[in-house]
Every structure is written in structure tokens, then in C-alpha cells.
Amino acid sequence: MSVTSTSTAGGVRPMKLVGAILLTLAATIPWFTGSTFHFHIAVMVCISAMATSGLAVIAWVGQLSLAHAAFAGIGAYTSVLLVVRFDLPVLLGLPAGALVAGAVAFVIGSPLLRLRGVYFVLITFALNELFRLIMLDIPEYSGGSSGIAGIPKISLFGITLSSYQAVYPFALVCLSLVIGLLVLIRRGQLGRRFAAVEENLDLAESSGIPTARTQNIAFTIGSAIAGFAGAFLAHYVGFISPETFGFQLSVSYVIMLVTGGRLALWGPLVGALFLTPLPEFLRGAVEYQHIIYGVVLIAVLRFLPQGLVGLPAQLAQKGGRA
């Protein structure tokens, strides 16, 4: 369970280098192929990886949130309403979305986080449903079940990023910032506190770590990242409705996180990178796509408890034993 176990095992350094090279290569694929479609998938990978990174921060303190889509929704609606109604530039709308999602998480976090394990999952599931129902009930803000269409595209200092090719570099920058934040947290004192709380809450508490506050910090940061990703998604796709941010979206973030690796730093990115393009290669067979998601999820849980990120270490261990 220890979060540092992968970096202490022998022979991992070159593996990290290989991983970094592979990721960089993967990021440049759309420029090599030049296909608009590949640019679109690459942007979607970035958005999913950002949202899943937020979920990972919450998972680092041992909680699994099924309300992640709702926080993405809060961020999306905040940004869209500010941009559409108050003519705010999108570049300010995105952080505003993160801020509001984080603020909501901070306020409701302290009572919610008294619950642990499946109870926390259940209450966040109920919250996500409540968010959807309330949004459907206030169509003057949410657009009701027909949603809000024609959302302005992201624009940087007067230049509108209208094509997929133009959005992609910006998406890469945002994703790098989010992952940079995760690295900072992980390396710093906060990360060690998170790990202690995840490993053994009671022990952490008796060692003088304010566990409730620590969990709330993680929940707030993670949900703020979700808000940012949700706002990005809204301005990229150009359409949102309360149904966009339903149970299904929360579940797909969980699937990406678990597939990539629940506690690993690179888990969210690997999960998003593996699962987002998958349906695109099975076009015309959306049903099979979901079945594959389900099978992948159960197989990973069963055979790769540390996710795809843990695969090299697991193989190395097997090889070492043989």
C-alpha cells in the first residue's frame, strides 16, 4: 500500500526515463499525423487527465468521491455563466470555475469527510444526483434538460482558439500545470501528511496530524481541479447540460483513476491516456466500448491492484522471483 514503494524498488530509474520519453512521444502524436481527429482525442485526454488528477488527490487521503462530475459541473456552469452573462474573458472564467468548485468543496467537506470508506462514496453519489436534480429544476440558469449551447471558445489575449490544433497546446500547458501541482504536493510536507492519513488514519491522528483538516484540504484541491477541468470541457465542447455531469461521468473518472493506479502520481494520466482513445478505435460500436470499460475495470482491480502504472514494477518483481 505504501506510496513510495515503486520508487525504492531497484531498476526503476531507467523505467521512469522510458516512461517520460513515451509520454512525450505520445503527446506529439497529433503533430506527426496532422489529423484533426487525433488533435481532438488528444485534447479530450488532457481534460480527462486533469479531472482524474483531481480525483487522485482526494484518493491520496483514502477517500473515493463519486461527486467528481458534480464539481466539474459547478466549475463549468460558473465559468459559462460568468462568460455569457457578464462578458468575462474565458481565461478568467476557468480559474473562477476552479475557485467556486473548491469553495463549495471546502464548505461541505468538513461534515462529509466524517464518513469513511463506502459511506463517503454513498454520500457523494447522493450529492451528485442531488446536483443534477437541482440543476434540472432551475432551467433559467442551467438551461434545463436542453442545456446551454453555443458556449464561447477559449480565447487567449484576443486570439480565439477555435480549431482543435490551436486548443491542444493550451490544453497541454494546463495539464502540465495540474500535474506540476500534483508533483509539488506529493514532494512537499502536505503529500507526506496525505500519505500518512491514507495509510492509517488513527495513527496519523495520534501522531498529531490534523486528519480532518488534511482530508478537507485534499477534497478542496481535488474538487477545484475538477472545476477547472469541467470549465475547460464546457468551453471546448461548446455545450453543457445537467445530464453532462451525471453519475456516468463520475464513474468514468473513477474507472480512469483505478485503471491508471489509485495512489500513483502518474496514475490519472496513464488511465486517461489508455481509456480515452479506446472508444474512438471502436467507433460505431459504443455498446462494446462500455463493455470493454467494465471488463478492463474488473480485470485491473483483480490482477493489477496498483493499476497500469504498477505493471512494470509487478513484472520486475515476478522476474526477480523467477
Binding site: L64, D137, E287, H290, Y293, G294, V295, L297, I298, L301
Partner: protein, 287 residues
């Protein structure tokens, strides 16, 4: 006015009985195996399709179809327990995540087999019962009657047979139950099998009223989920109380306020109960 109250009362009890059929399996899976089963709604959907196949494709009478549905569901539940859930027996969170995957597989499997369109189910009975100004469609009365009979049979099984006692012992304390000779391998499969069967029966009973499609599992899952939270995860008496309560709240709120208000009220109630008393109305506190 008093007529509206009486009508709401009857509708609420009908709803409550059906919610209870769903909730017992859900709460049993948690009580016995510590699994929060997000695939439970899909078992309802499978039950509805079994009934549809039995009645329209094979031309069997409705009671025979229901009996077959129960048999198929028990076997299917035992299989699912063996293949999907058994590896996660001591890991609540992984078991729950696995059930999310299972739900996706089942729902989209049905989508491939039967297509997305809702299919009409031939009416089993037609007409209404009338007492003064009270009206109960016969189809609903039939669903209610069969539902109550099945619940009673299950209650007798649980209270007065060896396996029923073993199941209850497992819910109370796994280790002690195992020490006293309860065979976990069999009882886990049986527990999930019965839970699946009750959900499938609910699906079969509701099919003539609401039609059949791969997506019909979502609402019953939500209801079971609400009932089980309110009653306390793992508590069967709690589920019974909460199911009737939920049926009445929904029926009264939608008669006197609106249907969307009913949904918001019940979800808000769920959140309050989880915060104030996570063990539910009749559940035992976790130690």
C-alpha cells in the same frame, strides 16, 4: 381531499412494496458480503427481460415465467458472486468499484442483444378495482399481491429455515458464524443469488406496467439505494420501514407538490440521514 389522501396512501404502499423487493437484495449483499452493489438495478432489468422472453417469445403463462425468472436469477447471482465479487471479499471499496464495471457490462450487453428501444409488454390483467371514488388498476393490485406473497415467503425462509438462520448469522458476525459451521462459500453465493432473484422478480412484476428496455434499471437502483441508506446498510427491518416510508413520501409529495420536488426531498433526506446517523434508522453503528 380525504379521497386524495386515501388514493395517495394506496399508491404509496404499492410503491413501497416494490421498493422493498429491490432494497432487500441490495441490503443483503452489503450485510452478507460487505458489497455495495451498483449493479443491482441491472438485475431488475434482466428480470424484466426474462419475463418478456418467457411471455412473448416462449408463450409461457405469467406465473411459470416468474418462477423461471427466479430460478435463472438465483443461478446468475451465484455465478456473478463466484466470478466477479469473490476476489474482493475483504475489500469493500474494490468490490463496489467492481460492481460499477459489472453494471456497465450488463447494461450494454442488454443493449447489444435487445436494442435501445423500449418494448411493450402484453397486459396480464386489465380493468380496475373501484371502491367509491378510489381507483386501483388491477395490474397494480396484481403486482402488489404477488410482491407481498414473495416477501412473505422470503421472510419465512429467513426466519424459519437453516439457511435463513445462517444468512442472518452472517449479517451479524461473519467470524462467529463461520466458527459455528456456516459455510461461507455456499452462503455468499446463496445470499447474492436470493438478492438478485428478488430484484429480478421486481423487474418481472413491473414489466407489464412500465415496459422493458436496457435502461430501466437506473431508477430502481436509486430507490433501493435511498431505502437502504435510510434504513441502515445491512438491516432488513430497516429496509422494510424505509421502503414503505419512501413510497408514502413520494406518493404524497407528488400528489400535493410535484414529482421533481419528491426526488429532491428524498435525496436531501438521504444526505441528512447519512450525516446525522450513518447507520440509518434501524441499522447498528459500525464499530
Amino acid at each position: 381531499m380525504s379521497f386524495l389522501i386515501a388514493q395517495s396512501l394506496i399508491n404509496g404502499i404499492i410503491l413501497g412494496t416494490l421498493y422493498l423487493l429491490m432494497a432487500i437484495g441490495f441490503t443483503l449483499a452489503f450485510g452478507v458480503m460487505r458489497i455495495v452493489n451498483f449493479a443491482h438495478g441491472e438485475f431488475y432489468m434482466i428480470g424484466a427481460f426474462c419475463a418478456l422472453i418467457g411471455v412473448t417469445w416462449l408463450g409461457l403463462p405469467f406465473p411459470v415465467t416468474l418462477a423461471l425468472t427466479i430460478a435463472v436469477a438465483i443461478l446468475f447471482g451465484a455465478l456473478v458472486e463466484r466470478v466477479v465479487f469473490r476476489p474482493f471479499r475483504n475489500d469493500e471499496l474494490s468490490g463496489m468499484i467492481a460492481s460499477l464495471g459489472l453494471a456497465m457490462i450488463l447494461q450494454h450487453g442488454a443493449l447489444i442483444l435487445f436494442g435501445p428501444d423500449p418494448q411493450a409488454f402484453p397486459a396480464i390483467v386489465t380493468g380496475v378495482f373501484k371502491w367509491g371514488s378510489l381507483i386501483v388498476p388491477k395490474s397494480r393490485a396484481l403486482a402488489l399481491g404477488i410482491g407481498i406473497v414473495i416477501l412473505l415467503i422470503f421472510y419465512l425462509f429467513l426466519m424459519h429455515t437453516r439457511h435463513g438462520r445462517a444468512l442472518r448469522a452472517l449479517v451479524q458476525d461473519q467470524e462467529i458464524a463461520a466458527v459455528f459451521g456456516v459455510r461461507l462459500e455456499i452462503m455468499y453465493a446463496l445470499g447474492l443469488g436470493f438478492g438478485v432473484a428478488l430484484a429480478a422478480v421486481a423487474g418481472g412484476l413491473m414489466a407489464p406496467l412500465f415496459g422493458v428496455s436496457p435502461f430501466i434499471g437506473a431508477t430502481p437502483l436509486l430507490k433501493a439505494f435511498i431505502v437502504v441508506i435510510l434504513g441502515g446498510l445491512g438491516s432488513i427491518p430497516g429496509a422494510a420501514l424505509a421502503a414503505i416510508l419512501l413510497g408514502l413520501i413520494e406518493s404524497f409529495t407528488s400528489s400535493f407538490v410535484s414529482a421533481s420536488a419528491a426526488d429532491i426531498v428524498t435525496f436531501a433526506l438521504v444526505i441528512v440521514v447519512l450525516l446525522v446517523r450513518p447507520a440509518g434508522l434501524l441499522g447498528r453503528a459500525e464499530t
